[in-house]
Symmetry: C2
């Protein structure tokens, strides 16, 4: 048995512990098989994470497993989809059983939390990187796209913004204090807003998950919808810990920092009012969709694309 | 616009030129959307290719695009599936417009030939590697799995075997002669047996594509089916050019070398006889499924797993 056959054995328990009734055939054949109910559409998305680019070198495998599946699942949340299964393409420079155990356990925890069954994958030797593709389903024609925002719609975000980006400054700190720990948790342990996305599927006009920063991601909605937006920075939801740590800078982070994996959605005012209270309470209104392209920010006008660009950051 | 936004622009024409009626939403949103007809199952598979492991450093982008999609599509052929779409997770160390043009053009050619529409992807910076996930459909319950081989079934292969593996010896040759060129074509330009796989979907008892070598891949069928096989090496289909180049060694290559991407299938003798002549003519009978585990090879008995292991080769 080859070394990489052994690696795959670390993921066997994950394949056995995560199940989904749509997954007719899991790992081990040429393909996996998923059976989608009539009236449902398949939605899917792939994300690659490269060591030293998307996560630090020597990043804890206990964090990496959760974080990589959460990042991928967040795209399902942004479509309003119900999670089904995922594939893992894992490239590793060598076999480190301690690392593999930690990674597989963390991935299993995330898979269980998000309701994603391991459907298959590929394990290869090379510089450390992983690609995860997630599959979900939505009722036919009900997927939340980026292109549906209309002038007059409210711009809303879930949760709080900016903390994950602030954590980048002290990811390596050996003994983080309580404030830092609260902020680090947002980077290491993102919570894709799957239930919220599904609750919004028949109500919101457009949605995206905030991976590259609010301005950049809202910019994608505006561009796809052919509209603009005005945003009130004072209304941005920010963790108390982030304000305590960063003071006035916290607002800039909430506008531009990535890695939060909250949702940014647009809704007609009437649709917002009709949301179940439990759903509405998870959203903060931060602005308004306008006709003029670009983002109006407390009187400043930003052209689209002025946000914190994911790929520029990657370089 | 970031450098990697530019990269994605190289794939825009590919997204526009490749279409599939199941693909409701292609690249550019949080997820792609595929609509699968009732009565059809989704089948999918992911393959990673790492530079220096699965293809040589400085490998021609004109070959890489075709080869990487062909390798992935071959898994659909092995399930008897109709191709639909694919995602591309591409990691590149830097932006090289000449490389990108060649790669995208070659990928577009393969996508057109195989009937696979580009559904989405992710482009990141890092050591060169790519993961391709292919999606296809099969009639409910009709997918060809590895586990259906039964004692008495014929073992058949498509095309010819061993040439792609032989090409590894002279991939770098500056001026290959005619013999070498014929053999190199098998490595650079594999032809996934998509139509043949679909034609076999209601007839074969088990199938796999030959990526790791006949003995290794037939071994996977035997293991999944709980059976053994006897194989007659003299019956293996081998290109004249390979015999001319390698003499008696050609049979060893046909047994153990990978990268051919032909199909290995098992069929009950009656099912084989009932195949349309045009389908039957694409197959060569090379052996028989037996009850005793392992592979009986002209009197020699090999335990399963004695073939050329993909992952051992990768190391």
């Amino acid at each position: 048995m080859g070394e990489f056959e052994l690696i795959r054995q670390y993921f066997q328990p994950l394949a056995e512990s995560t199940r989904h009734n749509q997954l007719i055939l899991g790992p081990g054949d040429d393909c996996a098989i998923q059976r989608i109910e009539p009236g449902q559409d398949l939605v899917f998305s792939v994300d690659t994470l490269v060591e030293g680019v998307h996560f630090p070198r020597d990043y804890s495998p206990e964090h990496l497993g959760w974080r990589s599946l959460a990042v991928a699942a967040s795209d399902l949340a942004a479509m309003g989809a119900s999670p089904a299964c995922f594939t893992l393409a894992l490239t590793l420079p060598s076999v480190d059983s301690h690392w593999l155990e930690g990674f597989a356990a963390s991935l299993a925890k995330a898979a269980g939390a998000f309701g994603l069954a391991l459907a298959g994958g590929d394990t290869t030797r090379g510089p450390m990187a992983l690609s995860i593709q997630v599959h979900g389903t939505v009722s036919r024609g009900k997927a939340l796209c980026r292109s549906g925002a209309r002038p007059g719609d409210l711009v809303c975000v879930s949760g709080t913004l900016g903390a994950a980006g602030a954590a980048l400054d002290f990811l390596d700190t050996a003994a983080p204090d309580a404030l830092q720990q609260a902020i680090l948790a947002r980077y290491h342990h993102p919570q894709p807003k799957l239930a919220l996305g599904q609750a919004l599927a028949c109500h919101a006009s457009a949605a995206i998950d905030i991976s590259d920063g609010l301005l950049a991601d809202l910019g994608h909605i505006l561009q796809a919808s052919g509209v603009g937006a005005s945003v009130e920075p004072a209304s941005l939801p920010i963790m108390d810990e982030l304000v305590a740590l960063k003071g006035a800078q916290a607002t800039d982070l909430a506008l531009t920092a990535g890695d939060d994996y909250e949702l940014c959605v647009t809704l007609a005012p009437g649709a917002f009012e009709q949301l179940p209270p439990g759903t509405r309470q998870q959203l903060t209104v931060i602005g308004l969709i306008t006709e003029e392209p670009g983002i109006e920010l407390t009187g400043r006008h930003l052209p689209i694309g002025a946000g914190f660009d994911h790929f520029r950051r990657s370089q």
